[in-house]
Amino acid sequence: MSKHSRARSTNRHGHPIVELEQVRLAVNGIPVIRSVTLSMNEGEFVLVLGPNGAGKTTLLKLINGLLLPSGGEVRVFGEGLTSATAKQIRRRIAYLPQDITVDTRIPITVREVVSIGRLAHKPLMARFTDRDRGIADEAMDLVGIAELATRPFGHLSAGQKQKVSLARALSQQAEIMLLDEPLSNLDPRAQRDVCDTIDCIHGETGKTILLVTHLLETVPRSADRAMIMRQGTFAGKVDIAKIYDDRFRRSLYSGLAETGSLTGPQGTKP
């Protein structure tokens, strides 16, 4: 059993690590998140499915303190998220934003991108140690990009870039990973490849993962549960056993087409 697998076996179904209690957020008076309540246990893998504009990205930003709620409470690692605690909490959460725009000619290699995760644990002006380099190499090994280490980041395909981002998140050694649409802008083969990588990360490390996506064709297979989000709130939950069934997914899609949301006869209140 690898050390990551051991970590998973101790963390699985642990105590609540993310708790949102009737969280609300309004931007310029317009409600973006309306009364969201969510509890995630340590080691749990939760999918949040929903159309564009449902508030999924905002939800992730509220959990890692990039945004603070207008109402309700966000607790992470048992600690209330405030402007005073956000910075420290953020270091323990790896965040993969959606569609970061990086100039393809930017002078940065894959190893250097992965090493950014190590900065979460270092004071300002610190140098990387052999341990940091070892952790970054281990992260690249786990996601299968070790051979790309010295390549310029801009030379990679979209799927490879997403794997580099996952390795960066891993090198941060954060307890929680927040993945924002990690499969968008990828072709179907790359989507499956990245999904497999996410499954591998969850299987090997047992990290708590919250993945939001509007795509249903390809979702990681190791998720513990799935929720539906629309118009800034959870609209129901999806039977995780069915989500990998093509017919069920098609019915979810038709629900989306008919109602503008992913709810329908399949969705049930959380």
């Binding site: 890692n64 990039l66 910075k87 420290q88 953020r90 270091r91 959460i93 965040y95 934003p97 970061i100 990086v102 100039d103 000619r105 930017i106 002078p107 940065i108 290699t109 250097e112 991108v113 090493s115 950014i116 995760g117 900065l119 979460a120 270092k122 300002l124 002006m125 610190a126 140098r127 990387f128 310029p152 980041f153 801009g154 960066r168 941060q172």
Partner: protein, 272 residues
């Protein structure tokens, strides 16, 4: 030319070319990679306008230039933070106002305007020992900042959002960088002039950007290109009795054109 090196003013000019060039080369890398050249342009003209107002009012041009530059950084810095609007419009307005202030100040000056013109075109041959010391301090601050915060700055140029979400104080470092950029620009006003200084901040790192995929090498090449531009420009302008600042900028432009012509990145784009 060798004989000229025995003169104090020429020794000062050479030192200024090397030290000032190095400072501009380092700062320029971050300005280019953060994609904030217009902020730099606005700041260099703020320094110029502040110095002109200083000459007009009898207050130290250096002090007012520095204050104006810092003020501009505080004013235009948030424009780069905004993602919901294009900062170029507000920067364009600020830039035009600053140029208006500078030229109004020059127009209101009585008597010879040689000091004001030297701020406009630069006067590298008239620099004194104190100017060289100030340049040295500014360049040391720029290089020191870049070396000490190298990893953090590299994360910020990759993605400010990722840097922030990793716990890096990206906003504080961004504003510190603008502040150091302002100091470097202000103290180089006498060397190359307010109208041309920003070319020296943009051209050498742009040339370095074309020929390497390594940030460390880009910093080194940028410094080398900036220092070479200053030295070659100084020598050529001395030999042909031409305005030094203008020749320095033209040399940096030639280096940029050559690097673009031989850029592996350009060949890669063509192949793609």
């Amino acid at each position: 030319m060798i004989e000229a090196l025995s003169y104090k003013f020429m020794q000062h000019a050479l030192l200024a070319a090397i030290i000032g060039g190095a400072g501009c080369g380092v700062i320029g890398v971050w300005v280019i990679l953060l994609r904030i050249p217009f902020i730099g342009v606005a700041m260099s003209h703020a320094a110029f306008a502040g110095a002109i107002v200083g000459l007009l009012t009898g207050v130290s041009p250096l002090l007012l230039g520095l204050l104006a530059c810092i003020g501009a950084a505080a004013l235009v810095g948030p424009a780069a933070d905004r993602t919901d609007s294009d900062p170029n419009l507000s920067l364009g307005i600020i830039f035009s106002i600053l140029v208006g202030i500078a030229f109004l100040g020059m127009g209101l000056m009585k008597g010879p305007k040689s000091e004001a013109l030297s701020l406009l075109w630069g006067s590298i041959l008239t620099l004194g020992a104190s100017d060289i010391w100030l340049l040295t301090i500014a360049t040391c601050v720029a290089i020191g900042f870049s070396v000490l915060f190298y990893h953090e700055l590299r994360a910020i140029i990759f993605s400010r959002l990722i840097a922030k979400s990793t716990g890096i104080p990206e906003k504080a470092l961004f504003y510190a960088l603008l502040f150091i950029c302002g100091i470097t620009i202000t103290l180089n006003l006498n060397t190359i002039g307010g109208l041309l200084i920003f070319s020296l901040i943009v051209n050498p790192p742009s040339a370095a950007f074309q020929i390497t995929y390594s940030l460390g090498r880009m910093l080194v090449y940028s410094v080398l290109f900036a220092v070479a531009s200053c030295l070659i420009g100084l020598i050529v302008s001395y030999l042909f009795n031409a305005p030094t600042g203008a020749v320095i900028v033209l040399v940096s432009g030639v280096i940029l054109l050559v690097s673009v012509a031989f850029s592996p990145k350009r060949r890669r784009r063509k192949a793609a």
